[in-house]
């Protein structure tokens, strides 16, 4: 029985409640025990490290210490931003003992031991659980559903902090989606930034960047976009209507969490997915799922004849 210590993050009971809920039921299906922390605080997200040096390390450090109190099992974090902050802090604390002593003075609940691994939820599912285990649990394959897997910035970058998958063209989420029976489309904007925490303070920027992501996803033929971060989901989903207005084009692309897809494929009832919480209606995606695997698309043969034609024309 695998165990993990779960850090929920500030949005998990608010904007990303559906992520938290489907994560719990999915992990249960995968025979993973979720241990909650007795107390935790905000990791500081972007704002803390933008404005401060020491507070930005103190906030995550307290969480690391609280996780160590639960067990030595991996600390798994569903939000990519929180994961990045926690992992970065862990790396700093592990490599700089003087800094660790200094920052630890701000946390009265305990001393940092460095015994707990920090992983993102996507990383945990891919590395610790594994594709084979996920495949085994699939009861209702998501045949025919075309998914653009959007990773965002912090699941695979910075390279020396995340140390997971490719920073340019990661495939872990794509492999999970394929294991669920759906088709992961070739999505060139899978790691382009959506504008992140500027959602409120620089909304025009987010409209521009997130809009581009939606555009490329639409061109790639995606029915839905799958994400593993509440910030990404929020920008792509909550701002979609605003983006449609400013661009004068329709997208209608639901943005769902990878755990919602997993829960659906594992046979959980649709009501458990909490699809009603999405701003861009996500229910239509259910209609796109087929009852049998889709036909293989006929491959287009590379055109040798065209070359000869061109040569003849020039001759």
């Amino acid at each position: 029985m695998k165990k993990l210590t779960y850090y929920p993050g500030c949005s998990s009971h608010g904007t990303s409640l559906e992520y938290d809920h489907t994560m719990r039921i999915t992990l249960k299906s995968l025979d993973v025990a979720v241990q909650d922390m007795t107390d935790w605080n905000c990791c500081g997200a972007t704002s803390a490290h933008v404005m401060t040096e020491n507070l930005a390390l103190a906030l995550p450090l307290r969480n690391l210490i609280m996780a160590e109190k639960v067990s030595n099992d991996p600390m798994v974090i569903s939000c990519a931003a929180c994961y990045s902050r926690m992992k970065a802090t862990k790396i700093e604390m592990d490599s700089k003992p003087d800094l660790r002593k200094k920052i630890n003075t701000t946390v009265e609940e305990g001393t940092y031991m460095g015994t707990v691994d920090v992983k993102s939820l996507l990383q945990y599912c891919y590395e610790d659980v594994g594709i084979d285990e996920i495949k085994l649990r699939v009861k209702k394959p998501l045949w025919g559903l075309k998914v653009a897997c959007y990773y965002g910035c912090l699941l695979t970058r910075p390279k020396h902090i995340a140390n997971f998958d490719s920073a340019e063209y990661p495939m872990s989420m794509d492999h999970i989606v394929e294991a669920l029976g759906a088709k992961a489309v070739d999505f060139d904007y899978k790691t382009e930034c959506c504008g992140a925490s500027f959602s409120i303070s620089n909304t025009e920027l987010v409209v521009e960047l997130t809009g581009k992501i939606l555009e490329v996803a639409k061109e790639a033929g995606a029915d839905i976009i799958a994400v593993a971060c509440p910030m990404c989901q929020s920008n792509l989903d909550m701002r979609q209507f605003q983006i449609e207005k400013s661009r004068g084009e329709k997208f209608d692309i639901p943005v769902v969490y990878i755990t919602q897809l997993m829960a659906l494929a594992f046979g959980h009832p649709v009501s458990e997915l909490k699809l009603s919480r999405h701003i861009v209606p996500a229910e239509p995606m259910l209609g796109k799922i087929l009852n049998e695997p889709p036909q293989e698309e006929k491959k287009v043969k590379p055109v040798k004849k065209a070359v000869a034609k061109t040569v003849e024309e020039t001759e």
């Binding site: 063209y169 060139d188 590379p302 055109v303 065209a306 070359v307 061109t310």
Partner: protein, 659 residues
């Protein structure tokens, strides 16, 4: 009775300003056995040497100490002076009071002077223990081996053969010509590569002094300078070259199609094939892993044998191993182009229309897959908007390559010109960090590119390429205007790095030469000995040593030829006698020294167990010709069996005690 002469140099102000030379001279004159002390401004000069020679004759000196600069500078000079005066040159000892004292202790004159005195004292004691050594002569086989049949190997072979020295030229592919045979037009003259190369290739084939072995590889090299033995594997071509006329009937009829390496896999060749029309020798070979007959057995296919009028196809041919005695080796194994797959942001491998520079070169070549017209691999259409990206791999530490590949700036400019010639309504966009055009006529060539073609030179790197419909969106920066730019390109050409061949480390190990962290073979000295290796008799030519263009390659190849001719100019080779000999009576036969020797100079020999005994025992034996006198064996031997002339235990211990 030892009579030592000490000559202390001021070296202008180099030594004189920091060491009290007069005091050194005075103190030294008090030493036991020192008969003559002279101090002089420039000991290496003619008058300076004159002092030494005079003193040797006048005072009947038995050994000399020169207290001056490093022996690396003038040991040879002073040894010659001793010889001129009739004294064995190995009775010289250099005390380095410049690099070891005055240059490093400039702040403390007293300490520097005392150290100089110590150094001289040690040298005096050593010089008394020196032995009269004589240069060794080793025989030399006057035949050269050239490994690699590209332009470097071809040039070296022709130059050596023109000096009437036999050359064995070994090339592993079916034809000589190398990368140059894959080029269309070359910078800065836009000479057709084939036109200037094929005459040389034909010369090689017809030269009376060149034995050409294509489709062959050197598998073993044993021995030492002037006395190598090479084992060469002649791979089975399954075609009898003597009877084959090169008519081409066989490859026309062969039913099997294989991706064509010569055209960078852009089109197909047959299983029996000659790589390109101008191949030398123009005889086909059978690519056994793809041939139906070779895979499935007798009776299958055999169409080539059926159509051959001369009956030249021989399916029973086997690999043949031949041996050649060799005096010197020229290594000209060339380079490969680095695979740009790590540039995931450029979609290498995912987008068909993102290609490498050599693929583009084949497209624009008249003997290429499309008769010289560039085309998009995805749909065969002629591209109009072409983006060229330089420094793909080169100068990129995040991809593990810190060096510059030297040729890409020039060939990218050339590609822009060729694109303009072949597709007049096209436009080239070239992303660069620098434009390196330092050769003769190169800057002018770049100017020509800019003015003739109007190519857009954008100073910045490309961050991402992605597909949008039929086009490739290329996003980069033009730092000169300080703006991010985006281009909808039909095709993207990557100037990927020049990189050592995959098997370069294996070749180096076989030959016993060293290579750097990339696999480029190491020259003996980067500035002063660029064509020699640390192993005597083995020389380097071409890109196997470092990226370079054709003019430099040809120069280096000719330089190798000059070295080989110099090596072969006498009947014997003279060797430094400061090498090691095994005192067999002390050798226990543990053979630890063989592991320690970096030159492979130590072998075994059988000697009688005892005096007059019939039973034999194994001891180590050092090959005079190969030993470089490094002393590694001396250090590891527990029995003190090896003796390194010029650095014997009594000599060194004497120095230490006197210090």
């Amino acid at each position: 009775m030892a009579r030592v002469g000490v000559f202390v140099c001021y070296c202008g102000s180099n030594i004189g300003d920091y060491v009290d030379v007069k005091k050194v001279a005075e103190t030294v004159s008090q030493f036991k056995d020192v008969k003559v002390v002279v101090d002089y401004k420039y000991m290496c000069s003619d008058p300076g040497q004159g002092h030494i020679k005079e003193a040797i004759v006048k005072d009947k000196l038995t050994s000399i100490v020169v207290a001056a600069c490093s022996p690396r500078m003038h040991e040879k000079t002073f040894r010659r002076a001793l010889t001129d005066a009739g004294l064995n040159p190995y009775m010289l000892e250099c005390a380095n009071i410049r690099e070891h004292s005055s240059w490093v202790h400039q702040k403390d004159k007293d300490a520097a002077t005392n150290k100089a005195i110590d150094l001289v004292r040690m040298a005096v004691v050593k010089s008394i223990a020196n032995e009269q050594l004589h240069e060794i002569s080793v025989p030399v086989t006057k035949r050269a081996l050239v490994i690699g049949g590209g332009i470097a190997g071809i040039q070296a072979a022709l130059d050596i053969a023109d000096a009437k020295i036999p050359v064995v030229l070994v090339e592993k592919s079916p034809s000589i010509g190398g990368k140059m045979a894959q080029l269309d037009e070359t910078f800065p003259t836009l000479d057709c590569a084939q036109c200037i190369l094929t005459p040389k290739m034909v010369d090689v084939l017809n030269h009376p002094f060149i034995e050409l072995m294509t489709y062959s590889e050197v598998t073993e090299l044993q021995g030492y300078v002037g006395n190598y033995k090479a084992v060469i594997k002649k791979k089975a071509s399954y075609v009898n070259f003597k009877t084959c006329t090169g008519c081409g009937a066989c490859w026309q009829k062969c039913p099997v199609k294989v991706p064509n390496e010569y055209n960078m896999l852009l089109d197909k060749r047959k299983a029996i094939y000659s790589p390109f029309p101008q191949a030398v020798p123009n005889k086909p070979v059978i690519d056994a892993p793809h041939c139906t007959r070779m895979l499935k057995g007798p009776g299958k296919c055999e169409i080539c044998a059926k159509v051959c009028e001369k009956g030249a196809v021989d399916f029973d041919m086997k690999d043949e191993y031949v041996e050649r005695e060799i005096g010197a080796v020229v290594v000209a194994t060339g380079y490969q182009l680095w695979d740009p797959k790590p540039y995931e942001e450029y979609g290498v491998g995912r987008y068909k229309d993102v290609i490498t520079s050599l693929e583009f070169e084949r497209m624009v070549s008249s003997n290429g897959p499309s008769n010289g017209v560039p085309f998009r691999p995805s749909d065969g259409e002629v591209p109009k908007e072409v983006v060229f990206i330089k420094c793909v791999g080169s100068r990129d530490e995040s991809k593990g390559i810190s060096y510059c590949s030297k040729i890409c700036c020039m060939y990218s400019a050339k590609h822009a010109i060729l694109l303009h010639h072949k597709v007049p309504d096209s436009h080239a966009y070239i992303f660069f960090m620098d434009v390196r055009a330092s050769g003769k006529g190169y800057e002018e060539f770049w100017k020509r590119t800019m003015t003739e073609t109007g190519a857009s030179y954008l100073r910045g790197r490309v961050s991402k390429i992605y597909q949008k419909g039929k086009k490739l969106i290329v996003r980069g920066e033009d730092g000169q205007i300080g703006q991010t730019v985006e281009i909808e390109a039909d095709m993207v050409v990557l100037a990927n790095a020049v990189y050592p061949q995959k098997d370069a480390p294996d070749i180096a190990r076989m030959l016993g030469i060293s290579y750097d962290k990339y696999g480029f073979f190491s020259e003996a000295h980067p500035k002063l000995r660029p064509v020699e290796t640390a192993k005597a008799g083995i020389y380097l030519a071409g890109c196997a040593q470092a990226p370079k263009d054709i003019p430099e390659t040809v120069s280096q190849a000719s330089a190798c030829a000059a070295k080989v001719c110099g090596l072969f100019s006498g009947d014997t080779l003279k060797k430094d006698p400061m090498i090691t000999k095994i005192q067999k009576e002390y050798c226990s036969g543990c053979l630890n020294c063989i592991n320690a020797c970096p030159y492979g100079a130590i072998v075994t020999e059988e000697i009688p167990l005892g005096h007059g005994s019939k039973e034999m025992r194994t001891v180590a034996y050092i090959n005079e010709g190969v030993c470089q006198g490094c002393g590694s064996c001396v250090a590891v031997c527990r029995s003190a069996a090896p003796v390194l002339s010029g650095f014997t235990d009594p000599q060194l211990i004497g120095e230490v005690i006197s210090a």
